[in-house]
Each structure stands twice: as C-alpha cells, then as structure tokens.
Symmetry: C2
Subunit: 328 residues, 2 copies
Amino acid sequence: MKIAVDAMGGDAPVNNIDGAIKALNETEIEILLVGEPRELEKLLHDKDYNKDKLSVIPSEGAILDTEQPAMAVKRKPNASINVCSGLVKKGIANGFISSGNSGATFASSAGILGMFEGLSKPCVGGPIFGFSPETLILDLGLNVDPTPKQLIDFAALGISQSKILYNIENPTVGLLSNGSESNKGNKLVKESFELFEKSSLNFFGNVEGHDIATGKVNVIVCDGFTGNIILKAIEGIGHVINQYIQENITDNKHEKIINSISKNTNIMREFGGGPVIGVNGIAIVAHGASSPTAVYNGIKTISWLSKKDYINQLKKELEEVRGSVNNE
Amino acid sequence: MKIAVDAMGGDAPVNNIDGAIKALNETEIEILLVGEPRELEKLLHDKDYNKDKLSVIPSEGAILDTEQPAMAVKRKPNASINVCSGLVKKGIANGFISSGNSGATFASSAGILGMFEGLSKPCVGGPIFGFSPETLILDLGLNVDPTPKQLIDFAALGISQSKILYNIENPTVGLLSNGSESNKGNKLVKESFELFEKSSLNFFGNVEGHDIATGKVNVIVCDGFTGNIILKAIEGIGHVINQYIQENITDNKHEKIINSISKNTNIMREFGGGPVIGVNGIAIVAHGASSPTAVYNGIKTISWLSKKDYINQLKKELEEVRGSVNNE
C-alpha cells in the first residue's frame, strides 16, 4: 500500500510530514511525500522514521489558497497536488491526501484522474451535523444547477458511501424539499421525484430542513447550491450558539458539553474532510488546518477505502441505480 | 382603528378571544371577532370587556390545518379567514390576524385583497435566527422558482420591512450564494447579481450560509425553496442542540440560557408569525399554537403597521427599486 501525501498543502507543511511519519511508524503503509525536495529535506532532517518506506517525489511550486483553482491547476502542471493526482493515475499510489486549496484538489483530481462516466464535476458529500452522524448529504458544493438525472447519481453515490462507511445495508434516501408532501418542491425536485420513485433506490420521499438534524433518512440529496448554504449555515449557527454558551456558562465542568456542540456543528473541520466523490481514484480533501493526527487519519482512511475497493463499489452502485431509471 | 380577529383559527379558539379581549381592555382598538356566532357567544359569555368595542361577525366553518389551502379557500367562501380578508378588502377593518392554516391565510389574502402589481404569490420573510435579530431573510416559502426580477422585488420588500420594523435607514442587501465572490452562485443568483448591482439597492454582494448567523447584512434575499429549507434546518438543529444541553446540564441556574437558545432557534414560534408580504392589506399569519399574549401582540402590530402606512410604504419602495432596474 503506497499513499501519496501532498506535503506542500495546508497551513503548515510540517503537519503533513508529521502525519506521514506517524503512518510510517504505526502502520505498514509506504509514503510518497510530494513537495519541493530542498524544503522537505530540511523538515525531515531530524525526524525519526523508517527511511526505506518513504520516498520524496519532487514537485515544483504549490497552489495557494488565494488562487483560482481550475486556472492554477492548469498553469502549474508540476505543482504538488498535480503530482499527487499523477501518482494515483499511473497506479503508483493507491490514493492521495491534500490539505491544500480544496478547489485545486477537486480540479486536479477531476482533470488528471478523470470523472466517472456521465458526471461533469466531482460531488461533495458527508454528514453535516454531528448529532446526526449517519445522515449523509450531497451534493454540498460543486454542482449548483444539477439535472434530475444528476440527483439520481448523487443518491447512488450517497448510498454507496453509506454502505461502505457505515455498514448500512439498504440506506434510505430522501429528496430535500420545502415540504414532505410529494407535490412540494421547486422545479428540479418536482421533476426528480418521479425519477426517484421509479428507481431501485430505497426512496423515502421528500424530507424537510429539520430532517437533517433528526436522522430520518440515511442519504439526503440536494443540489450543491442549497447543500453548500446549509452546510455553512449550520457552521455559523453552531458558532454563535457556542459563543453564547461560553459567555454565559463559565463553570469548567461544562467544558466537555461546549466542546461537543462546537465539534458537532463544524463537522468539516472536525472530520478533516473526505473523499472527492466521482473521480477515478481515491483523493482525500483535508482541511487546511489539519493537525498531524488528522493527516494520519486521512492516510489510514485511504488505505481502508483502497482495501474496500471503494472506487469500483461506487461505480457498481451508480450503474445499478442508473439502470433502474433507464430501463422502463 | 378596527381589527379583525379570526376566532376559529389555531389550536384553541379561546386564545384568540382572550387575546382580543386583552386588546379591548388595554388599548383603544375595536375588535371585529369573526367566527361561528353560537360558539363565540359561549366563549364570550363569562368574559369581562367593553361590549361597545366588540362586534361579532358571523362566518360559516373554518379551514382545517389538514386541508389543501388554495382549494379550501375557494370551497368555503364564508370561512372565517375569508370573512376576515373581506373585512379588510372593504375597508371595514384596518387589518386582520389569523392563527389558522397559514397556507389558507396566504391564499385568502392573496385572492381577496389581491397582490401588488407584478407579484404572483405572497412573500414570507423575517429574521430566522434570534441571535441575529435584525437580519431579515426572504423569501421563506411560497416562491420556490423565482426570476431575477422577483428577487429584486423580495429585496425591495425586505428593505422596506427593515426600515419600518427596525428603523434602519439604508439597509444593506445580500444575495444568498454558495460563495462570497461575485462569480459564485447557481443560474438564478448569477443572473440576479448584475441586476442587483445596477439597482438602487444598497447591495453588499453575495453572502454565504454562515452570514445568516452573523448579521453581515440587513436583508438576505433567496428563493423560497432554499429559504424554507434553511428556516427549518435551523429549527431542527436548535432543537437537537437544546435537547443535548438539557440532558447534560441539569443545574437549574442555567435554565435561562437553555430557554434563550430554544427561543432563538425557533423564531417563528417565538415571534408568532408576521405580515403576509405583497398583498393589498395588512394580514398577520400567527402560529397555530399562539397564546392569548401572542394574539394580543399581533393585534397591536396591525395597529402599529396601519399607523405607519405600511402597505403604501412597501409599494413605494417596490416602485423605486423596480424603477432603478428598468431605467438604463
């Protein structure tokens, strides 16, 4: 098992390196550390690890958080993130993790690894409210104007995630709408409802905003515009509630409770990201502020997903659900 | 000042009556109590109030919460909610309040009072997160697939609310999007951005989900599909966080804090509703579970809005903002 780590991405390159070294010391995984050789040499200099299991793969430059992702990915073909994608594409690495510019990770993995047939952009999905940890929502960002057939794809990818990540046998799927009745929804949801009903999906029907919090279904499907706004709304609301609690409950004994609310309303920071869904290879988008432990966890996730034959599982589910919609 | 009260609506007719009597006893307002005369007689029988200031206006039947609003409004022309709308339409009442089926209040007020020119459906708007009480969001429900010009209308109606309700001089307006950059958004937001920029609105630009919580702008504009989902998501998330706190913080001294979080994440229940925006008359949609105090507050709000010449203020703002978009 060889895993590529984008050493240049994120707020502190040393965190990527410390995470990688932790993996070297605690697992059988071999690491391909991608970055500027001279900088890496300096950072690795006094570290203690098995040198046979680490290879430094040179890259030129990194893509900054402030750069427009798609353009930067094209302009800097040898940037660390592109080298990582290339290693997976060539079959040298089983997957890669980057805590750099997340837009660049999407663009690079989509461009170099290629998308699943029929998808135009990667999909972002996962739980967004920690108190309902097994409710996945997708898409959360890139597909802002999807078609009904794309929503079917999101559902297939979501149930595949639900099966692989949470061992749920027959995940239920809901369409996020402005009412639970079957005639509620905007144009997209109304058009999609029929398609969902005739699909092989375990379709629950329309679900509402509050169902995100209650775990009513395993997979909630929505367009990436709505999903992204809700994700950020929860972060914002959680932050303000937490501030209020911190200002008003000052006894130390409640610290654990406050931390729990903070974690569960900012799940992206907490979980440190997730796989890019819909590209031909395992790519983990990690948070820019990832700690060494977060990077280490990401590396272990790649190893685990690779052993589970993650990419083929996703494709199989996609094919099956698409088939159920197309065969009438 | 004469205000019509739908006595039949809501979970408990007696709450409407007690709220109305409180208004009779504590203000100069005259009440037109709309409902089934025999039932009202029974409920009024032992109450203490100035009989000269209350008139019972007979209605036949009420629209149940389970009925499809638009159809029920047509099928029962003499239902209490329709009688209320009629009293306002004829200029007999300055406004009305109903805690009945809210869809029916929208349908009845739109059908009988009529919509502002150019609007097809009423708009729902208000603050949705109590810790950011001066940030209004609209639309929250009925207009699920609006056009860019309709979003301009929502903005105009929103700033008018912001001026009248909060005394804000030149309210800032943001377009809810999946990123703050001007090129972010779905098709609707991208098309609307330009229109917003050239309008007379004090346009801040795109705002994100977390800005709902932080009060970045005074008025956030979105389609009613997204708005409705966010409104309910906040209610759901607030409820779960609150349950978690209640289970884990059991000392009584924190009760106030818990109540405050509960209130501020379920603002619709707390504020007891708000005016139907975009119809030719003052109509207040109150929560089905409104207490007598909530009904009383609603009655006072109508009186206050009426004195402020609310409807004409809304129309003036709408005309001005529309003009700025159309005159190039």
